[in-house]
Symmetry: C2
Subunit: 457 residues, 2 copies
């Protein structure tokens, strides 16, 4: 991604100041930049100038806390490049300043020798925490949670809890949601800082807290985390282990990032593109090729079935060449209607609007809608059939249109459910797959109807 | 959407208690249910039982604050149905309890007489606030912002500000981000409640606040609001008018809702489906038909160009019927590659990863990737060409494959940028549109190459 003009100017000013070693000018420029923007400038220096030492020098001019923030905003690959170029002595304090979830993510990107070296230099508690967070499987709640939350021991008073919040404030990812923990570490309840602030100082948190807490298991998929956070408008979602012990929280901003990358992934899958590690403008060409080619070549062979169908009906085609005129139209329409139906189902399932057990009801709805769509399109195309090939051809085309659109829509609707049943991601029921399947069936339906009707004349 | 089993049980229990008028049982059941879940039960009663009086009775058994919460979680149509069935006397206190953004949304859904009646019964300040919020155009920051934020007059001390937060706590949408306002109502700075809590009580907020606040204009599109909130990980984004006066905030949960519905809209547009007012399982059949039929019929006529191409090359086809065998394959492959390229660009533009000025650089990348894709697919299909029609046909098919995939990918890549330049939503460059355009061009490319090569033999 190119920088916008403001950022481009700021980047130039920073590079000049760095090159001429003007530390006063740097100290003036840097505080004006937000960490997210600074991260983008660093990314741009790495991409355009390909100058790691300059990027490192820029990071070095920042106070340690901001350095950790900026590093946290960088994409994985750039984060690794920067971290690998730093010595253990420089990297360690930065890691310590990062949020525990970001630290674990970066840690997982480093090679094993480096990880061992860093772990040896850490304090025991930090080491255990990092090892634990880094051990959760990618794509689960555990992998995106942070252990920097405010835990209040059960039994505390409001004023004790308030003191605890003040002490934890610098480190916690959010201080606005408090979690009350029983002596066994189990999540006993939750309350907001807002509730705490308006409460009587002598009251006990146990009497004020909400006991029926929405929480999620550490093994749960991150999509589900994002759905729960959005559904209940949460600031943070507590994550518990099998013994109901609180082991982390997922904050709303991390949930929003998950929701956005899930939507991108679903859109890409919908066009049979594999998962990209980065934005389309930055991902390596070879990777882009690889993610697109597999499905395209598979679909080549899928399309050969359409060819085989055509070969089988060569006599019918030879007898009435006008039929070929309508071939792209008919299979295209079926494919489009089917891809629409599949898209509606896949997105409905992703947002939680459609469940597997709605299948029967939705089938009935789709039958009605697709039938009407097919009839409308048949009416639109029939006059052209009369013009090009006479009434018999018009009848063949109209009947084929209704059948193909109906068949295509039902296939497009059912495929995501079928894939879900088989344990696959419904988003794999992509438009190209549906289109290819319907293309082949469309050829068969069209020429079968044509053979039947035209032979009877 | 069907209820899950827990909710279904809870719904049955509620219906039984209501039917048998067991108010004690109700008072036991209701506090256990979260507002989001209760809203879903109400929605289900309206959809399955079609029983508005029961839904109203259920809402009536709730304390006024929860009634407002549940109403806020209902989708627009159900909200209107419920609100219209309530008398002004019942509705007014509920409206007053709702967040100012939800209140304005609901207000906009009521008919004019009802709105007039309600406004007359309101206190002057509330009336002005509601009229103002309801007046912003749909899809802008103004339409999704709330006016319930914590404003701290410039010059206050930390302890005065803390007092103000405590007073505002019950009404504000979020108390965790504070906005410092100068005497002209302009946004002077911001600070978090966390900062306030750890600050010295006698310090002035003006010395602690961040002056360089990220804010957004009231006319800005809601997509941009969601992007800014996600980019800077904000809890809330302040909204300012043309004079830089603070007039509202958009909270993270509303931004997340926008991001989710924008992603759904883009996915639907990508398959040429109009914007649905509700989830696919609930939207009326007629509406579903209407949103899908327009594009399908348009594409019917688009596909006729492919037919016209075929008619033009009838002689070439008659001379070498084996060519028809490869027709669905070639145009299908071009369509798939083009739809992939369009999808990557559209999503990249939606997430802000790709800008219009990256166009030149991306064109070069796409040329390389699409060229390699075309070559791979040509190699895959060439042997089949030899088998079906000899070496000459294989050559025609391979050359056509490279040309069609290259052309299709470039078209798919450029179309979103072109639409954006014309001021249209790039997501309109949907897969069916790209596919139809490439289908027609593919027919022309294929048979032109065939005519040239086969005539030369």
């Amino acid at each position: 991604m190119s920088l916008n003009e403001t950022l481009l100017e700021q980047k130039e000013a920073l590079l000049t100041a760095l090159a001429e070693d003007q530390s006063e000018r740097l100290a003036e420029l840097l505080p004006e930049l937000r960490s997210a923007d600074l991260a983008e400038i660093v990314e741009d220096i790495l991409a355009e100038e390909d100058d790691l030492p300059i990027a490192l020098a820029l990071l070095d001019s920042l106070p340690i806390e901001r350095r950790a923030n900026v590093l946290g905003y960088l994409p994985g690959e750039e984060q690794t490049d920067v971290a690998e170029a730093m010595s253990d002595e420089t990297l360690l304090p930065v890691l310590e300043e990062m949020g525990s979830d970001e630290r674990a993510d970066l840690f997982n990107l480093l090679d094993e020798d480096r990880r061992e070296g860093l772990l040896r230099r850490m304090a025991r508690q930090e080491r255990e925490d990092l090892k634990r967070l880094a051990s959760y499987e990618e794509g689960t709640a555990g992998a995106i949670m942070t252990s920097d939350y405010v835990a209040i021991p059960s039994g505390m008073t409001v004023s004790q809890a308030m003191m605890r919040v003040r002490q934890t404030a610098p480190d916690a990812e959010t201080v606005y949601q408090l979690y009350i923990i029983d002596p066994d570490g189990r999540l006993a309840g939750t309350m907001s800082l807002r509730q705490l602030m308006v409460a009587r100082p002598g009251a006990r948190v146990d009497d004020l807290m909400i006991k029926d807490v929405i929480s999620i298991s550490v093994d749960e998929e991150q999509e589900e985390v994002a759905r729960v956070v959005a559904r209940y408008d949460l600031l943070a979602l507590p994550v518990i282990d099998a013994e109901a012990r609180l082991i982390g929280i997922v904050t709303h901003d991390d949930a929003m990032d998950v929701a956005e990358s899930e939507a991108t992934e679903d859109i890409h899958k919908g066009m049979s593109i594999g998962q990209l590690e980065d934005g389309v403008s930055r991902v390596p060409l070879w990777s882009l090729y690889r993610k697109r080619v597999i499905w395209l070549v598979l679909l080549v062979f899928g399309n050969l079935f359409s060819g085989a169908g055509i070969a089988y009906f060569e006599d019918t085609i030879a007898a009435q060449v006008a039929l070929v005129f309508f071939l792209p139209l008919l299979i295209g329409s079926g494919g489009n209607a089917g891809a629409q139906a599949a898209t509606l189902m896949v997105r409905g399932m992703a947002t939680g609007d459609v469940g597997v057990k709605d299948w029967g009801k939705l089938l009935g709805r789709e039958l009605l809608v697709a039938g009407s769509l097919g009839l409308t399109m048949a009416l639109a195309v029939a006059p052209i059939g009369v013009l090009r090939g006479g009434e018999a051809v018009a009848m063949v085309v109209a009947m084929s249109m209704v059948t193909i659109v109906l068949f295509g829509s039902l296939l497009g609707m059912c495929l995501p459910f079928l894939l879900d049943r088989l344990g696959w991601d419904p988003a794999t029921a992509s438009a190209p797959l549906v289109t290819t399947l319907i293309d082949a069936s469309g050829v068969l339906i069209y020429f079968s109807i044509a053979t039947a009707i035209l032979a009877g004349l």
